[in-house]
């Protein structure tokens, strides 16, 4: 029997730390599948797309279609609505970024950056505040002060380019990736 030396103590400390660290790794390895199972499965993630025919939409009219389980706005703007959206100084907007999935993240929120063809506005119909569906404003049924959309849940107001102008929403309505298949048909997603 010999008294424990400093060497023994160091070795024991090393074993404590090493087994503790390995235990931590094991716990993390077991925890991850239990956390990740809640994320969307590959089936849900598989990029679904939808084609929208445009020929039945009149000037000044907007329709809502379902895309990835959420509303998608397609609006055929009047010349006045386009002019109104273009007259806005981008620097004065609460969110100066385009929020257009087809453009770089830092693209400015000009009307041109929010549309592909000026007449057609395609947006995700999800308020950037807490996810409600905003109500469209038309000349006969005015919603809010900016002619675009009003979210009734918490009072966010969007203009005729879907840009946030007033209320608690932090960002402009998102422009999803979409392309014109022909003059009267788009594919979203």
């Amino acid at each position: 029997m010999t008294a424990a030396t400093a060497d023994d103590a160091t070795r024991r400390d090393f074993l404590y730390v090493a087994s503790g660290a390995m235990g931590g790794v094991a716990v993390a390895a077991v925890a991850w599948p239990l956390i990740d199972q809640m994320n969307p499965s590959t089936a849900a993630l598989a990029l679904s797309s939808v084609e929208v025919p445009l020929d039945s939409i009149q000037v000044g009219q907007g329709i809502t279609v379902k895309w990835r389980g959420q509303p998608l706005f397609v609006r055929r703007r009047t010349p006045e609505e386009i002019a109104k959206a273009r007259a806005v100084d981008v620097a004065s907007l609460p969110d100066p970024l385009a929020n257009n999935d087809s453009l770089p993240e830092n693209a400015p929120a000009t009307d041109a950056n929010r549309t592909t063809k000026p007449e057609w506005l395609v947006l995700k119909g999800v308020c950037t505040h807490l996810g409600c569906t905003p109500t469209i404003s038309t000349p006969t049924d005015v919603q809010g002060e900016y002619g675009g959309w009003l979210c009734h849940c918490h009072g966010s107001q969007y203009d005729t380019a879907g840009r946030i102008r007033k209320g608690p929403a932090p960002r402009n309505l998102e422009v999803p990736p979409y392309a014109f298949l022909s003059d009267t048909r788009i594919k979203v997603g």
């Binding site: 809640m38 969307p40 389980g69 849940c153 009072g155 929403a169």
Partner: protein
């Protein structure tokens, strides 16, 4: 649960158990001989009522789960089936749905009582904090439960609340997606919310056990807010408070029954009779009445992140009350200033609740309600963060009686 035991096992089986698993001793000490201040008033009966509410929710909930289908395509129909076809399904579901409202009514009275009599002050800080935790678990459970019938308000309520997390910078949207299991609230969300709604009540039951355990170490506070000085200040829990709690429990059940049998949809929202539609948001999204004050606080702040922070802070601030209150006197009976500020606070919560129930652009007598809600929010936080510490320092409390017995016996 703690302290010296007065249990004396008599029968053979009691003696046998007492040396192996002293369950009879535990029950005897906590529910029979437990010394309780003899001056507890009406406002102290809600602890027992709340235990009853939890039991009712668990029993009716387990039965409902035998008939409910947590599937976005089937959920709404299965609830209709419970209401129309399952034997007594209407009764069980109405008891469960109104039971949630009764549970919150009782918990709010219980919390305001604790606030008025200073029941959160040393040595009872942990009872209060565990209580705040129970309240948080209750709101989570109620939220998950409200989603299950899969009506319009279920769906959009779930959308708004889960979007709170998207306010968190950087990881926010990932957290929302993780909660949904999809790009939006959908079948995956409903399925997991059902799982959690079934789990949490049992977690609550366990934490209630801790709440009662923590209560039995220092014993009850009382309306005078002074410590028990001698055995003359207390009576045994049984039969004095079992009878008193039982009497008021009967009255509470009568009140509860009035809603279940005569106004079962009183707390309901007509929009929830429409099946969930992800493309149409109802004109007004209104949470259940018990969350309206917090909803008003959220809406009163015109910034997404700050609004969500304020909402969370409004509940979390409760956990810090034991240290925010600097007064050495517990009960508001002897606190002439705090008594008034407390009642203003109660009225403030009611005003905030009213603001939360109204449309976002509503105007009352020429005043926009959002302005009223802003003042209400300012008082809500001001009460805890400014008034509680300051009033405790500057207020001159009234003289305290020498003992619980003294004001009754007159020396």
């Amino acid at each position: 649960m703690s302290g010296p035991s007065t249990y004396n096992p008599k029968s053979g089986i009691e003696k046998w158990l007492d040396t192996r698993l002293p369950l009879p001793r535990l029950l005897h000490d906590t529910m029979n001989t437990f010394p309780t201040p003899k001056n507890l008033n009406f406002w102290y009966v809600f602890g027992g009522i709340l235990t009853f509410c939890l039991a009712v929710q668990i029993v009716t909930g387990i039965v409902l789960a035998m008939h409910y289908k947590p599937d976005a395509a089937l959920a709404f129909g299965s609830v209709e089936k419970i209401m129309r076809e399952v034997n007594y399904g209407w009764l069980i579901r109405y008891v469960h749905a109104n039971g949630a409202s009764m549970f919150f009514l009782a918990v709010y009275i219980h919390m305001f009582r604790g606030l008025y009599y200073g029941s959160y002050k040393a040595p009872r800080e942990l009872i209060w904090i565990i209580g705040v935790l129970i309240y948080l678990l209750m709101t989570a459970t109620a939220f998950f439960g409200y989603v299950l019938p899969w009506g319009q308000m279920s769906f959009w309520g779930a959308t708004v609340i889960t979007n709170f997390f998207s306010a968190i910078p950087l990881v926010g949207t990932h957290i929302s997606t993780w909660l949904w299991g999809d790009f939006a609230v959908g079948d995956a969300t409903l399925n997991r919310f059902f799982s959690l709604h079934y789990l949490l009540p049992f977690v609550i039951a366990a934490v209630v056990g801790l709440h009662i355990w923590a209560l039995h170490v220092p014993g009850n506070n009382n309306p005078l807010g002074i410590d028990v000085k001698s055995p003359q200040d207390t009576v045994p829990f049984h039969p004095y408070y079992t009878i008193k709690d039982g009497f008021y429990l009967v009255l509470f059940v009568i009140f509860f029954s009035l809603f279940v049998f005569y106004a079962p949809e009183f707390f309901g929202n007509a929009d929830n009779a429409i099946e969930a539609n992800p493309l149409v948001t109802p004109p007004e999204i209104v949470p259940e009445w018990y969350l309206l004050p917090f909803y008003a606080i959220l809406r009163s702040i015109p910034n997404k992140l700050l609004g969500v922070i304020a909402l969370g802070a409004a509940i979390l601030v409760l956990a810090f009350i034991p240290w925010l209150d600097t007064s050495r006197v517990r009960s508001c009976r002897f606190r002439p200033t705090m008594k008034w500020l407390f009642w203003f606070f109660v009225v403030d919560c009611l005003i905030l609740g009213y603001c939360g129930s109204q449309p976002v652009d509503a105007v009352l007598a020429g005043i926009p309600l959002v302005l009223v809600a802003r003042f209400g929010t300012a008082y809500y936080f001001g009460f805890f963060i400014l008034l509680m510490p300051l009033v405790g320092l500057f207020e001159t409390p009234k003289p305290l009686p020498a003992s619980i017995s003294q004001p009754v016996l007159g020396e």
